[in-house]
Symmetry: C2
Subunit: 275 residues, 2 copies
């Protein structure tokens, strides 16, 4: 059972390049750990037509999950829910549960009973009809869940701490179940003293021996002033952790052997997140 | 004259979440500085159909530039050029200029005249027919330029130092010219003591007074253990730097005044890249 997940990152700051899309990589790593396969990440501006267009395109590809981040706050340019609504032909309406979540948030924050629900505050409770608001454990704007055909659409805030909290409490397990308990296993090798063009056929051969194991080479180190080297990433999805470890372990051992014959230096590595 | 730029990031590591897409944000910030508008960033896997599909979709939106990163190296899963070729119905063929670039790279690297052009090395010279290879000043695989209708497609390597070097030497000026000398101006304000829901209508009003200036609020600081605050980003594209600075400066002054009346603390800020 393959559980496919698309992500839609919404925010001008990502297209201006003044914000690195760490939400996408964090969510992708979590989805992968839960056994899901991220098939595409799309970033668009805070523009109604852009958002609606990207949502429609994603739904045409029928992923199991579509996770949007950003654009559900109180300001005029938070228009993700409106964009999703337009893509689905659904109007926004004030959801009473969402209103209660927002009220409760401000009550805790101000420590008082009466909360003035100004227009910007009420805006965060306007969600597409048929959608379910989801508790935001650390911020104001509730997240939103919609089902469209086989796809579950989750709309999360763009603030990383909020997106992470909601993913952990409300999405992670759903992906785990949809993936049928598949687990993702990976290992990194650090290799030096060999060029990528020499490594290429060795990777080919090793992958043929270990079907299901994916091996990718990443040239590294020239920038940071570190000696150039290549990091090899071995990964597999498997129904049992044991068979996954056996396959990845086998491919790693074979690769080590092949590389040592050619005089390359090889060691197990923990690769960082940054490219 | 609006110069639109789409980006296509190619690489399983981005979808597995073990690599943060810093190439996309770096390129986006450079495109923005050159006066271009990044309209969409798409990330897909190292899969032929995914790449070809994403290229076709991007071309349908007719951007002035489409910049792809990743997947042009010597390994089996470097298939970006094949994907672009498939999208355009063009076969790959060995380009003699590209062969010479690759030869010259290895000659410098090994400091010897005779270079064995193995299959993986020759692979980097196989580019879509009608494409032009572009010198890679710091790595092996040449970049590639194709023109399709109004769109110039640049295919860059995924290694950040190589993508950056090629962007600087071969793309930046082309965007600057296409953008007609427009400049991008921005300023950041750091605001505390006011909530985003209270700030929302103030942003609205200020933007109405300064059309052309875009103001976006970013809630910050809860994660890092820093006191919660909001960063306001002011930006505009303009044909003269002077008019741009005047507009952004005017909007910033008005905003400061409005915020001080409400008792918020305001200071100019340099926002970092990370969200």
């Amino acid at each position: 059972m393959r559980c496919t997940v698309e992500m839609l990152s919404i925010g001008n700051e990502l297209l201006l390049g003044n914000t690195v899309n760490t939400n996408a990589s964090w969510l992708a790593s979590q989805v992968t750990s839960a056994g899901g396969t991220v098939t595409r990440i799309t970033t668009v501006a805070d523009k109604l037509n852009e958002i609606a267009g990207a949502v429609k395109e994603a739904l045409r590809r029928k992923p199991d999950f579509l996770i949007t981040t950003g654009g559900i706050g109180p300001t005029f340019d938070d228009m993700s829910l409106q964009g999703v609504g337009r893509a689905l032909g659904r109007r926004l309406k004030v959801d009473t549960d969402a209103v209660e979540m927002i009220r409760a948030h401000y009550r805790r924050r101000f420590n008082r009973e009466f909360i003035r629900l100004t227009k910007p505050r009420l805006k965060m409770a306007r969600i597409p009809s048929g959608a379910t608001p989801i508790q935001n454990p650390v911020g104001t704007a509730p997240a939103v869940l919609l089902k469209v055909g086989r796809t579950r659409i989750f709309c999360l805030p763009g603030v990383p701490s909020e997106a992470k909290a909601i993913f952990r409490t409300s999405i992670s397990d759903a992906i785990r179940v949809a993936a049928g308990g598949k687990t993702f296993t990976e290992k990194w090798l650090r290799v030096s003293g060999i060029m990528e063009s020499v490594l290429a056929p060795i990777i080919d051969r090793t992958m043929r021996h270990w079907p299901g194991v994916y091996i990718k080479s990443h040239p590294r180190g020239v920038e940071a002033g570190v000696r150039p080297h290549i990091e090899l990433h071995f990964s597999t999805f498997s129904t049992t952790p044991k068979s996954a470890r056996r396959a990845v372990g086998g491919a790693v051992s074979e690769m080590k052997e092949r590389l040592r014959i050619r005089g390359a230096k090889v060691s197990l590595a923990h690769a960082g997140l940054s490219s």
